[in-house]
Amino acid sequence: MESGKPLLEVRNLNSVFPSNGKIVRAVSDVSFALAEGQILGVVGESGCGKSTLLLSLLRLIRYPGRVESGEMLFREKNIIELSDREMRDLRGKEISMIFQDPLSTLNPAFTVGEQIRESLRLHNIVSSNKLPWPFDGLRRAQEKERVLQIMNEVGIPSPMDRYASYPHQFSGGMQQRTLIAIALACSPALLLADEPTTALDVTIQAQILNLMKRINEDRGTAIILVTHDLGLASEFCDRIAVMYAGRFVEQGTVDEIVENPQHPYTQGLLNCRPRIGERDQTIRPIPGNVPSLANLPNGCAFAPRCSYVKEVCETGPVPMFETDPGHLNRCLITSEYRRQPDWDWGVVVGRERA
């Protein structure tokens, strides 16, 4: 896994939405790498840019939003530079996405079977004979066969009977399984999951997560899981990136993030979780509110809510510091640098950004 190039490498990604003459910076300066078969959790509050990050990867940000700058290297090809045609070949086949609200995401006018089959047909997965309707019977039958297999794999019972059902006839859990089946139809290398369990109740949540875990193990599909639930991410993922106001503020393995959180925001998130087995614990919420993405402070976006805040935090953008190998922290105060005798903001920032 460590050897060779990563499956996906994102460098300094910026995505923006122009709005009423202002620019909303939904994703700012996001960089990360994802190996084949790895699971990355992106944790953050609602509206912090998590979903926009995923949509940026598929170049599906809704107009007038756009990717402003940065690189997204998928198998060493920059996604931003692909033609529309190449992009369509990538979507659904190499990178596919699971959305948050299954009912509104499935098209109410088509049967679930057809919706799963559409991906197979688009990417000529089962067969590439291109006879037009009505001479495509053989191909259709082969594709249906494959759809039934996939439905079975994601745990939709009696797929034969369910093939011709409409989304509204399914329960929430079944709808989410259908979405997963659509995403998996072409065996993509990367699965983008945008809060896939938020709309579901807890028992179904566990089932869906188990299913995704199994897919990851059996097929080696890399996953980026976006969630607001740090607990869920720490059970499910290999690495976690904590996102705040459009930026990754801390990135590391699950153990590093949970056992040794460095960024004050990550610490705050962990502090406001109740812990089992501790009596009289105080839950300490983070004071203040998330800043507006249209009006971010000049320096660290978390500074107004931070208890460690110093003057230096507000003077300019804070770079990511690699505090341990693979453990990144976007904080001037809690990074190891401050303990070095020659610590100097200008020097450190200059060196990191060079």
Partner: protein
């Protein structure tokens, strides 16, 4: 299961027609003016006995509830009575005029769909583009322009000035046209008379545009707004994330769902195609039901008014029934389980 549901709806039209019959019966009798007086005109050289004899012939001397009973009894048998003025059975008068009206309504509906569907879709896809602004302001104009005015302008321009299209009527003389069903386009095809086909189609153009313009405007606006909604929906994003090409995203995923509210509006517009054609038929000298019923109203020709209104109501109910059937096809959520 679905056919049972459709049958149910067909049967439900019976009480509706009954209600329409009663309402139209009383309402025309509430309008001032006596049919016999109007028929006799201002001459005055008619004896009271003569008037009484006519009233007796038309059952107008009987109490209202007896007249209503006669009307309903005959209507149930499919007999809509005798026109006071034209001295012919109402059913045969309607049968003679109805094809012209339907032909015009179909022409107008086709025109409006051909215009409105692409405009609605393109305006939504290119929202706020100059094309969107232009077509939406044209649509606004189409809704607000009175039909007779638009008709006259079109006649002045295309018939009088440019001489491209005929001024009025359904077909030119000298085409050797033979009438079979009353639908002139269909008849020309059946007899293989292409001169007549061309002439009848050319005669349809201006009235269809005039009648269809406001309908097209309404459909385009409704389609645009529902397309805007479906284009923003999650399932359209899902389709894009599967790798569906943009044109297919629009046509297959967005338009299919946007047609659901649009088709309802199309059904309601059929009422305008039928009820709004009186003015258009007059402007274009189109020998349809609309012109006949307007004259019947001036004449207080009760049976003819009653019969025509019943036919209008029936057509409207049927159009909406067809819409409902289409609706279950487009929207699986309301299909019977």
């Amino acid at each position: 299961m679905r056919s049972i549901k459709i049958l149910e709806r067909v049967l439900a039209t019976i009480p509706i027609m009954f209600g329409v019959a009663i309402i139209v019966f009383f309402f025309i009798r509430l309008t001032p003016g006596d049919p016999v007086d109007i028929m006799m005109g201002q001459g005055g050289a008619i004896s009271a006995g003569e008037l009484d004899r006519l009233r007796e012939e038309f059952h107008l001397n009987e109490p209202l509830h007896i007249q209503l009973w006669y009307f309903l009894r005959d209507a149930a048998r499919g007999d809509l009575g005798y026109s006071y003025v034209l001295k012919q059975p109402v059913t045969s008068l309607i049968a003679e005029r109805l094809p012209a009206t339907i032909e015009l309504a179909v022409g107008a509906l086709l025109f409006s769909l051909v215009i409105a569907l692409p405009i609605g879709v393109i305006s939504a896809v290119r929202q706020n583009s100059w094309l969107d602004r232009l077509s939406m302001s044209t649509a606004f104009l189409g809704i607000s322009m009175p039909g007779f005015w638009l008709g006259i302008i079109l006649i002045l321009l295309f018939s009088v000035q440019l001489r491209w299209l005929p001024v009025q009527g359904r077909i030119s003389l000298g085409t050797g046209f033979q009438e079979r069903t009353g639908y002139f386009v269909l008849d020309s095809l059946l007899t293989g008379n292409f001169a007549a086909l061309k002439s009848s189609l050319l005669h349809l153009v201006l009235p269809s545009i005039t009648l269809g313009a406001p309908v097209a405007a309404v459909i385009a606006r409704v389609l645009r707004s529902s397309m805007l909604e479906t284009l923003r929906s999650d399932y359209v994003t899902l389709a894009r994330s599967k790798g569906v090409a943009e044109s297919w995203v629009v046509i297959k995923h967005a338009l299919r769902n946007a047609m659901i509210p649009t088709i309802t509006v199309v059904g309601l517009q059929v009422g305008i195609l039928l009820g709004g054609n009186m003015v258009i038929e007059t402007v274009f000298g189109w020998p349809g039901l609309g012109r006949m019923v307007v004259k019947a109203i001036f004449d207080r020709d009760f049976p003819l008014i009653q019969g025509t209104v019943m036919i209008y109501a029936f057509t409207f109910v049927m159009a909406n029934l067809i819409v409902d059937v289409l609706y279950t096809y487009l929207n699986p959520r309301i299909r019977m389980q």
